[in-house]
Structure formats: structure tokens, C-alpha cells
Symmetry: D2
Subunit: 451 residues, 4 copies
Amino acid sequence: MKNFGHNCGVFGVSGSPSAAALTFTGLFALQHRGQESSGIVSSNGQQFFEHKGMGLVPNVFTPTAIASLAGNIAIGHNRYSTTGNSELRNAQPLTVECWRGPLAIGHNGNLTNTVQLRENLVQRGANFQTTTDSEIILHLLTMSHGTLVQAIVDMMNVVEGAYSLVIMTRDSLIAVRDPLGFHPLSLGRLNGAWIIASETCAFDAIGATFERDVKPGEIVVIKDGAIESFSFNRVVPRRTFCSFEAIYFMRPDSLLFGKTVADIRIAFGAALAREHQIDADVVVPVPDSGIYAAWGYANTTRIPFVLAYVRNHYLGRSFLQPVSESRVVAVDMKLNLIRSFVEGKRVIVLDDSIVRGNTAKSRCRLIKEAGATEVHMLVSCPPHRHPCFYGIDFPSADDLIANHHSNGELARLLGLDSLGYLSEDSMARAIGDCSLCLACFNGKYPTPVPL
Amino acid sequence: MKNFGHNCGVFGVSGSPSAAALTFTGLFALQHRGQESSGIVSSNGQQFFEHKGMGLVPNVFTPTAIASLAGNIAIGHNRYSTTGNSELRNAQPLTVECWRGPLAIGHNGNLTNTVQLRENLVQRGANFQTTTDSEIILHLLTMSHGTLVQAIVDMMNVVEGAYSLVIMTRDSLIAVRDPLGFHPLSLGRLNGAWIIASETCAFDAIGATFERDVKPGEIVVIKDGAIESFSFNRVVPRRTFCSFEAIYFMRPDSLLFGKTVADIRIAFGAALAREHQIDADVVVPVPDSGIYAAWGYANTTRIPFVLAYVRNHYLGRSFLQPVSESRVVAVDMKLNLIRSFVEGKRVIVLDDSIVRGNTAKSRCRLIKEAGATEVHMLVSCPPHRHPCFYGIDFPSADDLIANHHSNGELARLLGLDSLGYLSEDSMARAIGDCSLCLACFNGKYPTPVPL
Amino acid sequence: MKNFGHNCGVFGVSGSPSAAALTFTGLFALQHRGQESSGIVSSNGQQFFEHKGMGLVPNVFTPTAIASLAGNIAIGHNRYSTTGNSELRNAQPLTVECWRGPLAIGHNGNLTNTVQLRENLVQRGANFQTTTDSEIILHLLTMSHGTLVQAIVDMMNVVEGAYSLVIMTRDSLIAVRDPLGFHPLSLGRLNGAWIIASETCAFDAIGATFERDVKPGEIVVIKDGAIESFSFNRVVPRRTFCSFEAIYFMRPDSLLFGKTVADIRIAFGAALAREHQIDADVVVPVPDSGIYAAWGYANTTRIPFVLAYVRNHYLGRSFLQPVSESRVVAVDMKLNLIRSFVEGKRVIVLDDSIVRGNTAKSRCRLIKEAGATEVHMLVSCPPHRHPCFYGIDFPSADDLIANHHSNGELARLLGLDSLGYLSEDSMARAIGDCSLCLACFNGKYPTPVPL
Amino acid sequence: MKNFGHNCGVFGVSGSPSAAALTFTGLFALQHRGQESSGIVSSNGQQFFEHKGMGLVPNVFTPTAIASLAGNIAIGHNRYSTTGNSELRNAQPLTVECWRGPLAIGHNGNLTNTVQLRENLVQRGANFQTTTDSEIILHLLTMSHGTLVQAIVDMMNVVEGAYSLVIMTRDSLIAVRDPLGFHPLSLGRLNGAWIIASETCAFDAIGATFERDVKPGEIVVIKDGAIESFSFNRVVPRRTFCSFEAIYFMRPDSLLFGKTVADIRIAFGAALAREHQIDADVVVPVPDSGIYAAWGYANTTRIPFVLAYVRNHYLGRSFLQPVSESRVVAVDMKLNLIRSFVEGKRVIVLDDSIVRGNTAKSRCRLIKEAGATEVHMLVSCPPHRHPCFYGIDFPSADDLIANHHSNGELARLLGLDSLGYLSEDSMARAIGDCSLCLACFNGKYPTPVPL
């Protein structure tokens, strides 16, 4: 229900005569990962075909546009601007013709050493036509000699940060995931075809089956129906999956570490129940991202789960623009409260996170004004204190409300009787056996970052 | 989650310097009642100001457009085409200048004797510039002599069918509801101003308080802060509120007969629990309209309530067009299933209605394919067998699947282990002490209809 | 080269299977008479088909739009706003359904007693949905009993002012011209079909032949291939054709009183040569409206005709908006001077009129700065001193520069060595044997006007 | 009056605080050289600002867009597609960031060895994101070491063909013209600022004065108010200015070899009078390109010059699309004939060229049908027999009508009594003391071309 900018969704198909149509459907299922622009590039073995536009997937692609994207291979991309301006020329996939032939790339994530990389490439003779860090990757692939896989390994040796990539050549589809595995990237199958997607919900949308995740540091090359895997051989300290993907971004029906994201969020709720026992009458989720955690809390505590907020589904395009002022406006109209469900009750509101605090404040006030006798708020992650450099568009540290107030002050400020966060440990346990990036909570960035 | 065309939402303000801005917000809260076009007309006591456009409320009205709508009175309208074509010139409110001065009208509902009325008016010298039945009402108001209230009474004497109206003159705001009270219309207050809205959720959106419903057959005239009520004096057999408003159309946070619509739907679920005992492991609602009934069923039966369907919120404008083919396409992409929530389980799917059956079929198949051992379906209303002439865009009797198959056949056809509907009686009891229009279920139309 | 708003162009076809396509081409040839909006309505004998839009003819009508306009009869209209706002709903033809069946009307000209007429109609029960005076005519036709021709006669008895009309019913095409014959309206033939057009250049565009003018006060009814003529029988003092049509508006290739307009303008130039003998080296026309008069002047005086101004043909849509400020901007970029053609020469600049004077000033300065030793200006009509109420969008008397300065002062103000106008008498003689409306020159309005 | 695609117009300003606004006006004056897309890039010494769009100059640039283009240096470009597709991403100026800092380029002309150059650059590691040959020039400038001037010289050593360039760096404006000087490029001054433009008419539009032409093979560098000139030192056989620029493309008020283009065309007419004596009553120019030659013919022969064709000025955007079918349609509506001017006369029609012959045919038939007793056609250049590789979008040799018929046959085919062309020698003499590219007439290409 918040509008963090995210660093995009990617999708790829190899080996299907409906490659572009499948990519359209896959991008539609990944729409939550980027609403600013969308694009598809396909290959018929000889030639590339391309269509890109500003706006939502169904508005960008007409049936005619999809029909014009010939060939058995295609890659697609939904963009939410994190670097570069909101212009069509920054829309992805980005395509170049180089000595390797035509190359297209779609990129989810954010590099952290772009300034040095760009400067270095420019010194070596590269010409930059966009302001995206994806163009940096393309230049690195072109400048390196040897095979494309060798060039990808060379690239991985110099770039820092987060990248889940789909790359297309005339005859190959390639998936690449950074060695720390910040963002998700999975492999699926549909009849004879191979599918790559940011999240498994895109497999379900096209009827494909989940095969496995692309591993951190892995390069998967699909050509003529065959699949080859290469490993990036740099010693990596530990993988660090973005915890906020699990908390907020991923769709609840996507798979993560063998479970659905909904199950992980239910476990967040159960953990919150262990950490924060509250004597209350109802648990009210903030839709949609708080729903499963609230449900887990309710199931564990036996406090009734009450859908008291009603979401307004009709939000025009103008509300999705990357301008911070308009977000506040949008929020006010997104949720309405069924007053009778909370009147005279002790209420627990459960949300996924508190960032600036404005949204939380207005929503809790709504419940208070409806006649709740107590309002408690639970958050299914720790307090946000640090910016993200890997693709999530959090505000600067100064705008994160947890940096300015103690827990008690914040509760008072939001008009709450109590405020509780999920601990880092419990959160990590709920996600499962994996190392996580918790930098936005504890400031421990797994790579050098530009400060 | 279905796209029945509906006959619009209306809104009006009298006595606020922000009349147009409040109307904008009110229309936004009523967006679910019409997405084809939207319009606002305001009056500063001397002159009317008007802005209309095709599309969703936030796309039609820029801040500049709202600022240009001067005055303390305003009426607004969201249209979903039921009569007339999808053109801007059919967008409402409709404005004329006549011997009474300027008049504007916004209409929710559908008249059933338009052919005769139009023919008759044309013979008496009326010029029709649109194909809406709202223009019929305007001509009737103009042709009648005497006061405007007398003219409204005269109009009510000749028109048949459903109409909840907002009417504006230079200095007055008038609300009119047909004698049978088919569709909702309520009265609210905000500081000194009077508000009229199709549903009370629009009051909440602007911070107004609910005062009372406009009564069937009532004419409410608001002028200079004062309010007067007139009654249409024709003997009316019984009021007949549209039951499908309670089942599907109204927002769950709106009030109906003293309860929230969510509460009524919870009662539907409780009644289903009494009528259909099923040995199952989980109750899965079809979002969003099936949620509260499923919740009521789950709370009564103690069978776990499981949010297994995930809704895709990003549906571009093209999916909302009143073209029947595109609906099917849209449906396929709207819901995704969390397979692990139903795998190996005996599942009850709860939806608000079955009309053509295509949607139900594909959704049940999804659950079966996910590995459910049994799939039962419960519907929170009786089988649909007859078209509606009062504003709901059901298909013809031929396209209603319940007219072609027995209950058992239909269950087989949909791949279900069982299929159960809510009975008319239970449904009516859940809605409360009131007479209802059940014509779409039993064919007993409360007015003569054109067959 | 100026942008006087004009009161529209009309076109009609009866008896051709390509009625709409011919109307499209005809409207394109009449584009100079109105650039704000364009529309076509056709009839297949049963039903009307309509397409209207803002902008130039080729932008309003796609091939698909034209193909959708079925039937053997069609009328079309180019609008330049003189009354009413610049909105799509004021675009013509205007269509209504009334007791006579469907009626459509296209109107060129301006009525002078609209306030009383509208007030009177409103008192008699008419509902106005637009602010055009064409809707007044429609209501008059509807309110009158008897045949449509009788109703047209009744209408002509009450309206004052200028009107050249095309009217369409299910099966008839009707042309009507006001008794004073202010604006042109002609009748043509193409194979078996009858054509009506504001100017004969539209006949040439579709390959039709000119038959005759519609006479002042005449009603021409075309039905099933037959043509009937009716005369409006009110005693009319004299016909008064708009002299500015001949001076500026009509295309030079249109016929007027048996001659081409180009011939009439050549005669203006010859008359100027008799009235103003100037010792000069070159005659420079202001394109395009001054070209033929300058040519006549040059041919008579044997002073060389020199095309020293070059017109910039690429003017985007934004320059054609009815906003007075933008006209000045546009003018500056419309003409460029070939300096060598006037350097060191005694130059006569010949233009069709001086209204506000800004344009004349900047153009004469251009010639002076290019090194002309003398600059004289000749104008092919008398000084403009009065506003027009019949359809020409001259500014108010206050903004007409001739009302503020003597001839000598004006010459000094414009930086001229001399300034000469054509006399009323010579102008009238050049146009030919006809009575003219000269109200904009001498203030003698042929009908009562609202002052 | 024909629509040959042309290879663009360029404009540049250095040293004015209104650099972008001047460039807008300059591009507007150069609109005849390209109507497909337009763009401006400016520099404030640190940073580039850019705005580009499809369509005509006044439609691409809003006042807000112009205001956003900060800085004292700007370059602009009007594009008519000759290479690459009609897409926004091919719009110019093209901008890159490279080791030299940001670079922008606007290109008029066409290279003839692009395939080899592109292939070679790709092998050396260049990434191509567009299909324009201008990107080739940018890569050459980047790949070369040494100063930018040295890089430009290196580039000139390898590219073949036609190029008039404006190049911008953070602090410099550079003009470059190919060694053969195919297309015009001139230098002007406005107060302290330096101006570069494809034609001098753009200087007049902004009030600048013509300084001199950029010489073939010259590199002009303007920085901080100072100007430096460098010469490309390769031995050049002879300069070869495109004769069709003089015949058709350039605006008549632009300067060429010290004369106005109008004067040169008048000389064409005088030469035609010497080569083709015809006993005729009137000389009718085809507007606008035939006007000055016809005038020269008329002045020399004393046969009256008669403006019998009237041009329709209102041509919407759709008529300017680079699709060959639509050209024919457009032509039919562009000109109308004043029949009385040619009826019963022996007529000479004078046009600038005959390419496919369709246009000439329909126009001559118009005159015949109007009752001319004889129709002769004179053309102010030799017959077109060969395609152009330097930027003019002539059709292939197969579609040039002069390749299929003798002069006599062609006259018969066009329905003419006689047909005469201007000889190469006379044409060259009229243009003045200069070597010309006559390849489209005689097939002698001054550089190797891809056949």
C-alpha cells in the first residue's frame, strides 16, 4: 500500500513461438515490481524486434505491437525509476548492436560503483546515450574480449551491487544473478520452452512450472533448447538476500526459499505474537501487504482477524508517478474504514513497515476517530533507519521517522497506545535458513556503498 | 471481481465553498459504481460551470479543472453505460438552459418506459440531442408548468423504473428517489453543508456524517442551508430495494438499512453455513466481493478462512471497457492462486454470484489443478435467471448459465464436488426488514418491463 | 495572412453513395472558412451517422471515420468560433431528434437577435444544451407546426442577421440563405448528385460543376433526385452581400457574381491604380490575400510586380487558436522578405486591409530596414471603423486603428511615405452590379444590431 | 509542392542567453528542410539540456520546454528521415557522454560508406543504439585520440558523402562541412553571438546578419566569443554543391553564392526563355517552387505571368508522413485552378522538376480540361535519371519517368503540346561560378556510391 520505488521486474523466454505473448503476460504478473515503463525485445535468430512505452503493461502493448515481436526468444522488463530520469529513452530492455552482434539487456537492481565504472568506461572510449546503470553493463560486455560468458564473468568482477539480469543475443537467452543474490530470479519450464522471471508468480500466470532459482553468482545460458550453467568464481563472503523483498515487495503467491511468500508473512505474524502479547479485541491488517502477517498473528493469538479497511481499487495513472507529493494524496484515498468493526474495541493494526510515518499516522487516527478504545500498532519488520543502495527507493536517513524518535515518542506521535516491531532475529528465522541483507535496518551494507 | 455494468453513482453538495473539490473526492469514493466517464457541474448562484470527460475520476479532473468549477453548489456523476453509447456527449451531469433557468441532472438507474416517454415528448415538441434516458427526465421537468417540485412530482407520475437523482438549479440542490427505492441514496452533513451521495462511503471519504437515507418516493430540496422534504403521493405497493446492491455492488463500508454492507455479507455467510453443511478443510473467498460472506461462513462453521487467491491490482484502462470479450481476458489475469494453501485440502470456494459461469469454471479448475482433494462452491445469492431492467447490466436470459442446467449438471460442468446457493428467504432475512427486488432471481418485476 | 475569425463553411451532398467522402473533400477545400472544429452527419434514409472533432479537417477524419458515415446524403461544417465557446459540444452540424424525426443543421453566419429569440424560446419550453445560435434555429424549426418548409419560412420571419444553412432530414437536403444574402451559398451537380457549398472552389475539389447560387431568401429542397425552390415572401429592402467576403475571405478561385474572386481583386488593383498614382519602382503584395490586387495594380501601372515576401507554410496547430495574443506571434514568423528585391527601391506594399495596424507596421518596417528608399502602402478596401455582427470577428471599434488617427497620422505611425485606401464606390464597382454590406466601413447596418 | 524527403536542417548558437529560444525560431524558419521530428540540446557550460519530439517545430516545443533548455550555447535539428526509421530515438541532435565529456551532434546529409564504417566501428568495440549514420560520426569522434579538432579531421578522412554538421561540447559550438560542400551551411552574427544555420533565411528570422558561408572542408570552432577556422587538408578534386538545393529545396529568400535563391531561379526562367521560344498567351507557375522561374520566363518573353493555381494552405500533419502513397493523395488537394485564367488560352506551365510524372500529369490535365487550347510544359532543370546518395529522397532509377520515355513520348503521355527542360549548362551558368553535383541528372557521382 506504500509506493516504494522498486528496481524493476525482468522476464525471458527461449524456445516458444509465442515468446513475446508469454513475455507480455509475464510482465503483467510482475507489474507490482515497476509501473513507470515496460518493454519487450524479441529475436527470430537473425534480427531483433522491439517495443517499449511509458505506463502500465496493458497500456504499452496493443495486440498489434505484440504480434510484431517475432521470434522464439524474448526478454521483457518493467521499470520503476531508481536511477536515471523518467523518460522513454531510459526504458528497458536496452538494445545495442556491437561486435558480438545485437545484444539486449533487462536489469533488476542497482549497482553501487557506477560513478567509477562509468568514468572508467568513458576513459576507455565508451559513448553513453542513457543515464541508466544498465548501459554500463552493456559497455562492459562489449569491451571485454573472449566469449560472452567470459565477458559476463569479467563484468561481474568489476561491478558491485545488485543485479538480476536477462540478456538476449540473436540465438541465446542468458540469466545472471549477482554473487550476493540480492533480488530474486527463477527458472521455469513451459512445454519445451525455458522461462526466466523475477518471481514465480509469473510462471503461474503463463502456466509454466517452477524449476529452480538462479543461484547467486550463477550464469545460465539457454540456447537451442539446451541449458548450461556457469559459476562466478570470486570468493563471496555470504549471500545476502534483500529482506524487504520478503516483507513487502514480492507477491504473496511467489515462492521464496521453498515456501510461498504468504507463508513467510504468516510466520512473521506468529513471531510478532510471541514477541508482543497484547490484550486486544481485534487484529486489523493494513491491506494488502499487512494481510498475511495479521492473519498469522490472529491465528496464533486467537484474537479475531477483522478486515476493517476497504481498499479503493480505482487509482488512475496519475497516482503512480514518482513524485513524493502525490503519494500522500493517493494514500488518503486508498483506504476507507468500516467503523462498526472497530468501534468500542481494543484494536491492533498490523502493517508491513513504517518509513516516513505519515501514512501510519493518518490510518491510526482513522481508527481512533471511529471509536476504538485502544489502538496498538505492530510492524512486521524492524525499524527502518538507513537508505538502500541496491534498488529500493527508501528516503534518505533524515526522512526515516525512526531516526528521530524513540519507540515511545513515536507511539505518542502516531496517537498509539503501543507500538511494536518484529526483531531482526525473528524476522530472519521466519524467512528461513538464509543470510539476508538487513542494511536498511542495521546499516551493515554487504558491499562498499557511495556515502 | 466481475464487471457488471452498473447504472452510475451520483453525488451533490450544497453550502460549501469547496463544493467541486468535495464532489471530486466523493466521486472518487464512488468510482466502483461507474468507470466510463465522470463529470461535475457547479453553480455560483448565477452561472453554471462544467467539466466532463471519459475515463476514471482522477484522470478526468486535473487540479486546474476542479479550480475552474466555482460556487457553493455542485453535483457529480460517474457513468457506466447502460443506455446510450459510450460517447462523451452521453456523459453526465446533463445540463440545459430552459425557462426555469439552467438545470443540471445526474441519474443513477434505468427507466423502463423510455420508448413511449421519448415518443410522447418528441410529439409534444421536444428536441433530443442525446440518447440517454436522463434527457427524458429533463424534458419532462421543462414541459411541466408550476414549480419545479410540482414538475418533479408530475415526472414521477409518468416515468417507470429506477432513478436516484441529483438535480441542480442556480440556487438549489435536489435529491429524488423513485417510489420503489431501487437504488441507494443518502443524505449527509459536513459542517454547515448538505451532502447527497449514492452510498455513505462517499461521506466517509470527505469526512461528512451520515444523516439519513433519502426515502423511496421522496424529494429533498436544499436551498440556502434549509432543507425541505416532499413526498410523491402515488400509492406504492411496496418498496423494492435492489438485492444485488447488497450482494455485489455497494462498497462493504457503506451503510444499508442501519448496518454496514460488510455486516450484511457476513450474515449471508452465516446463513449459508446453516443451509449448506460441508465437511471441508478451508474456506477460500473470491476477492473482493466474496470476502465477507466467506468470513461469515468461516466464523460460523469454524472452518479456517484462507486467503488463497491473490488479486492483481494493476489493470489498465483497456480492461475496463464495456466490451464483453475483453472481460474474459481481464478475468484470467486478475487472480492468482497460492497453491500451497489448497493442496491436499477439501476446499470451499465462496463467490457472490454465478452469471455466465466462465469465471467460476476457470477459478475452480485452478484450485483443482493445485491439488485440492475436493472443491465445493457456495454462492451468496440464489441462481440468476432473468435480466435486469433497472440498471444492472446482466446478460440476457439465454446467457445465464442457471437457465440451461440443473444444479447437479452445473456442478459437474464446473468440475465441482458440490454447488450450493443461498435461498431467497435467507438472503432477505440477512439484509433485514425490507422488501426487495428479486426480479433477477424469480422474474417478478415490480414494474411493467419491455419484453 | 490575418486571422479574422470567420463564421464557418458549409457543405452538403444528396444522391451519392460517396456522400460522406465527397463532404470530407469539400470541407477540406473550405478549410480557410474555419479551422477550429469540423463535422459530418450522414443519413441512409433511416438513421443518422455522425463524426465531429476539434482541429483541421484531415486531422478530424480518419478513413475509418469516413467509412462509418453511411448513406447517400450528408452535410458538413467547418467552424471558426464566433459565438459560443471553443468546445467540442459546440461543433457542428448540430443534430436533434424531434417530432419531425432526426434533423441536422450546419450554419454559416451570425444572428443579431439571439438574446430575444433564446429568451422567447426558453419561455415557450425549449431546453438549450449548447450556446450556439444554430440551436435557436433548430428549436424554431421544431416548435413550428406544419411542413418543414413552412417551419423554415416561419423561422426566417423571426430571425435577423446572416445565415447560410444546410439542413438534413432522413431523406432531404435543404439549403437556406438569409433574405439579405450576406454570405455565399452555391448549388452544384456531380453526375446525378446535387451539391451545396459555401464557395464554388469546393465544387472544383470534387469535380462537380457549378449550377447557380442559392438566391437570397431562397429555400432549396432536394429529395430523391428532385429539386424544389421556395421563396421567403417578406419584402426585403435590398440584398447586402458581405463586401469583406470579396476582399479577404473567399478563395480566389471561387466564383462570385459570375466572375472569379481573383478577377474581382485584380479589378480592385486596377481601381487603386486610378485612385492612387505613385511614382514607384516595385509593387510588393502581402501574400496571399494581397496578391491579385497587387497584380492588377502592376498590370495597370506597368510598375513591376515583385514577390518579395516569402511565406512560411509550416504553421502548427497552436498558431490557429482563437486567442488574440498568439496571432501577433504567428504573424512575425509567417513572412520573410527577400531584401535584394526592395533594396534601394521605391516600394508600394499592397495589402487587403488594415485592422489593428500591428501587422502592417511590422511588415512595412521590414521593407524600410531592407533599404527601400520609399515605402508606400495601398489597401484594397476602405478604412475599417465598425465591428461586424454578421459573422466576421473584427475587434471592437476601439481596437480599429482607423478610428484613432487621420490618414496622415497613420502613415507616419506605420513609417510610410504615403498610405492610400480604395474608395467604397470603386470597390463596389469592381465587385459588380450588386448591393453590398459596407457596415464595417460606414456603420450602416442593414438589420437592427445589438449595441 | 512536391515532398522529396530531405536530409534535414541544422542550427546553432553560441554566446546568447536566449540560445534555445533563438534556436527554436531558427528551426521554425528551416521547417521546409524536415518535418518529421525536431530537437534542441543546450549547454550551460557544465551540463546539457535536451528536448526532442516527433512533428513540426511549433508542436514539439512548448514555451515551458524552451525555458527548460538553459545555457548560452544550443544546437538544433529538423529531421526528414532518409536513413533509419521514423522513430523518436532517431531524432536529432544525438547526444552522448564520452571521454571528451558530453557531445551533441546535428547532421544534414547522407554518408555513402556507412556499411563499412559501421562494421569497422563495431569490430573496434563500438555499441550502436540507433540506426542513424550520425551515430557513426559520434563514435569516430570518440574513438580518435588527440584534440576534438584532430578527431574531426580523422573522421573526415574516413567518411564519404555529404555532411553539414553542428557539434556542441560543454563550452564550444563547432560547424563542419564536407570537403565537397554538398549542402549549404552559413555563419551569422547577432549582437555578440555567433549563429550557424543550414540557410540564411534562419538568420533573417532571428534578426541576425549573414557573415559568410562555412567553406567546403572547413571546421569552424566557436568558444568564449572567439572563432577559429581549420581546414581539412585532403586534396579535393572540386567542390560539388547539390544543384537541387538551388532548384527546389532552399527557401527563395536564402542566399546562395552571393545571390538570393529567388534571383537564381529567375535566371533559370530567363535561360529557359532563351532555350525554348514558345508562342503562348500565359505563363502559369506551379506554386511555390516554380514561381520565380516562371516570373523570369515571363519577364524575358513579355508573355503575361498568370497565378492561375491556388494553393490550399491547410494540410494537416497526416499529409506529411514519409509514405509514398499518401503523397499522391495530398497532391490532388493541394492545388486548385482558376479556370477563367487559362480558358481559351495557349498556356505554358512552369514547374521545377518532373520525377515520377504523376503530379505533372494531373496538373496539366486540369489545365486542358479548363479549356486551354494548348498546354506546354517547361521544367527549370534537366530530366531526372539517377537516384541521390547524398540526402535527397528521389525514387530509384526505375521510378524516374524520364528513364522510360523519350521527350516526345513523355509529352504525349502527359497530354502536352510540348515539353522542354533546362539544359545542364544553362542551369549551371544561372547558379553562378561554381562546380555542381549533377549526379541525379547525369549519373556522375562525385564520390564512390553503394550500387
